[in-house]
């Protein structure tokens, strides 16, 4: 039976706790807090209630009839995380973590954000719980994601622009960790993906696994059987692991799709598992985009949410074991897929999710009519409108 992480926080060879000593007591405390909460029916009830009445769960599993006809092979279902409150799956995790923060008694929340989706989801639950919230965001991303910056501010969060390094998600994460090191007694760090030191990759996975658990019972009701293939995009990897995790003990095929940016043969991509090598960043050992000297490379993707040179350690382990196949699609392929879903299904996807959809081009011809493919539609496209509007291949008057 699949039973990772082990006691030391490792998924096979990957994971661990590569952090300054200052954080060790906080990480041990967090692990204990989480293990207690997991067994506490009061906590579980509160978590489920908020997922339902606040985040809008369960999200539907929609049959994509016209997209299925377009490819003419297996049946395509979409897990509709785009319908979650705040517009993406990120809220599943922030609800779980804010309830832990409440139990810890800490009054101040810290978060990092790239595209701003995790920042918005954190600012949202912090407002709901009446806690102070500080979000670190790269200066470069602040310019790219103006709408989300405004949303976070309206929700009462303080946005701290990060001007070090590449001024994107990796630097925002470093800065959030520095804040945590400096204010560890008073602040609770809500990490946004299945990355960072143990126990974060496990906690975030567990909170996101509601996606796969729901999808599994929904497809059983709709089709009376298990799906044949699962498909999700991978940046840090939280929506993918959320869908995959409840299915890991089956033999169902799984594909994680990374961002190939301008192409795998250029330096402008974010395909960590495809092109990276194992290394240590932000507290865990995992695949990492790096140069020969072990300096971390700057990732590129048209989707700010996939623009990260690292990846969750559990994905590294699933890649090495071969349980999940990791592929990648380019910026252009993702844009085409976003356009296709919009006109075929009346759903404008987030650019991140469009990467998973783009892989259908390669996957569907290999399926038969008996196959059922479940795609995680991790978020909606509202936040990406400025990007879509700037692209010539997207329909619409400008």
């Amino acid at each position: 039976m699949y039973n990772y992480p082990d006691k030391r926080g490792y998924f096979g060879e990957y994971g661990g706790q590569f952090v300054p000593e200052t954080l060790m007591s906080a990480l041990n405390e967090l692990e204990k807090l989480y293990n207690d909460a997991k067994r506490d029916p009061v906590y579980q009830k509160e978590f489920k209630e908020l997922l339902g009445s606040y985040a809008g769960r369960p999200t539907p599993l929609s049959y994509a009839e016209r997209l299925t006809e377009y490819y003419g092979h297996g049946k395509i279902y979409l897990k509709r995380e785009d319908l979650c409150h705040t517009g993406a799956h990120k809220i599943n995790n922030t609800i779980g973590q804010i309830l832990l923060a409440k139990r810890s008694g800490k009054k101040r929340i810290i978060a990092e954000t790239g595209a701003g989706q995790h920042g918005v989801a954190t600012a949202t639950v912090a407002a709901k719980m009446g806690l102070q919230c500080t979000v670190y965001m790269g200066e470069e991303d602040i310019h790219r994601q103006e709408l989300n910056v405004f949303r976070m501010k309206m929700l009462g969060a303080e946005i701290v622009p990060v001007t070090s390094g590449s001024r994107t998600l990796k630097d925002a994460t470093s800065e959030a960790i520095r804040d945590w090191v400096s204010n560890v007694e008073s602040s609770f760090y809500i990490i946004g993906s299945v990355v960072g030191p143990h126990p974060y990759p496990m906690i975030v996975r567990d909170f996101q696994s509601v996606i796969g658990t729901e999808a599994r019972s929904q497809i059983k009701k709709l089709e009376g059987r298990e799906p044949s293939v699962l498909l999700a995009c991978v940046g840090g990897g939280s929506n993918a692991i959320g869908l995959f995790y409840p299915f890991l003990d089956t033999s169902i095929k799984m594909y994680g799709v990374e961002a190939a940016g301008l192409g795998l043969n250029t330096s402008k991509h974010a395909a960590t598992l495809t092109k990276g090598k194992p290394g240590v960043l932000h507290g865990s050992l995992s695949y990492l985009l790096q140069d020969k000297q072990g300096q971390v490379k700057v990732a590129h993707s048209i989707s700010a949410g996939l623009d990260y040179p690292g990846v969750g350690p559990e994905h590294s382990s699933l890649k090495d074991s071969g349980r999940v196949v990791y592929a990648s699609v380019t910026d252009k392929q993702a844009l085409d897929a976003a356009q296709l879903l919009s006109t075929q299904e009346g759903i404008i996807p987030a650019l991140e999710s469009a990467h998973a959809l783009a892989y259908l081009e390669r996957l569907m011809p290999k399926t038969t009519r008996k196959d059922i493919v479940v795609v995680n539609l991790s978020g909606r496209g509202d936040k990406d409108m400025p990007t879509y509007m700037a692209v010539k291949t997207i329909k619409g008057k400008r």
Partner: protein, 261 residues
């Protein structure tokens, strides 16, 4: 016995407080590293700590972040740093400690790196990303190459853990003065905490670092410790373009200020 132990014993015998000075290797330029080491040694430093720059230094404040970025832009690598250590060793026996992040070491090959470091004349290693829980095979490689494995304790470390960390540490015990990153501005040295570390750590001499900015800070820190480590304050002076003579004076003021008259 390596150079760090010899130095710490000498300090103890002569009732002298020890001073370790941190330089980001290759900042402000690679050419300036050797003259800076010379000036600091002349100023009375007992140990040189060379920071190996990393692209994402999460335990460092803005001063060392920026110095690391500038060093990397000028092509600083681990190979180059070891070549500089060999040059220093041609004329000086001052203990040299390398401090840095794990990933460049993994990329170099950990086994080869610790071996090459030892051959070049390095005496100790500080890896702030390696808490007790991750020491494992790295600790073995470090000690197999007769390098001191200098571990850190912080204000959030429990007394029980201080004992364990002291046991695992060699050369000296790095007592981080505040919960924070290097060069933390808000630091007011907590003498009670340092006293707790000093009375708990029976094996190693205790050196206090992070946020030691002046001779006054240093004096306060060594009330209950064996010495201090000065980093960001020194890098800041270097960044302001101060002369080697001025750097030497700064180091001497800290070293002398700590000693009982």
């Amino acid at each position: 016995m390596n150079r760090i132990q010899r130095t710490m014993i000498r300090c103890k015998v002569e009732k002298e407080k020890a001073l370790a000075c941190f330089l980001t290797a290759g900042y402000p330029t690679p050419e300036e590293l050797l003259p800076l080491v010379c000036a600091i040694e002349k100023g009375g430093a007992d140990i040189i700590e060379l920071g190996m720059p990393f692209s994402d230094p999460m335990a460092d404040g803005p001063v060392i972040q920026l110095s690391s970025q500038i060093a990397l832009q000028q092509g600083v690598t681990l190979e180059w740093i070891l070549s500089q250590v060999r040059l220093i060793r041609q004329r000086s026996e001052i203990p040299i400690v390398l401090m840095g992040y794990l990933n460049p070491i993994i990329a170099y090959g950990a086994e080869k790196f610790f071996n090459d470091s030892s051959l070049a004349g390095v005496d100790g290693i500080i890896l702030p990303e390696l808490p007790l829980e991750e020491q494992g095979r790295y600790a073995d490689l470090i000690s197999a190459n007769r390098l001191a494995n200098i571990l850190l304790v912080t204000p959030t470390t429990s007394t029980k853990r201080i004992v364990l960390i002291d046991k695992g540490s060699s050369g000296f015990l790095y007592c981080v003065s505040t919960a924070g990153v290097t060069g933390s501005p808000k630091s007011k040295i907590d003498t009670n905490y340092i006293k707790k570390v000093k009375t708990t750590a029976k094996k190693n001499p205790v050196l206090v670092g992070f946020g030691i900015k002046s001779a006054e800070d240093a004096k306060r820190a060594v009330l209950n410790a064996d010495g201090v480590i000065v980093g960001s304050a020194l890098i800041e002076l270097i960044g302001k373009g101060k002369s080697l003579a001025a750097i030497e004076v700064f180091v001497r003021r800290i070293k002398n200020g700590m000693q009982k008259r």
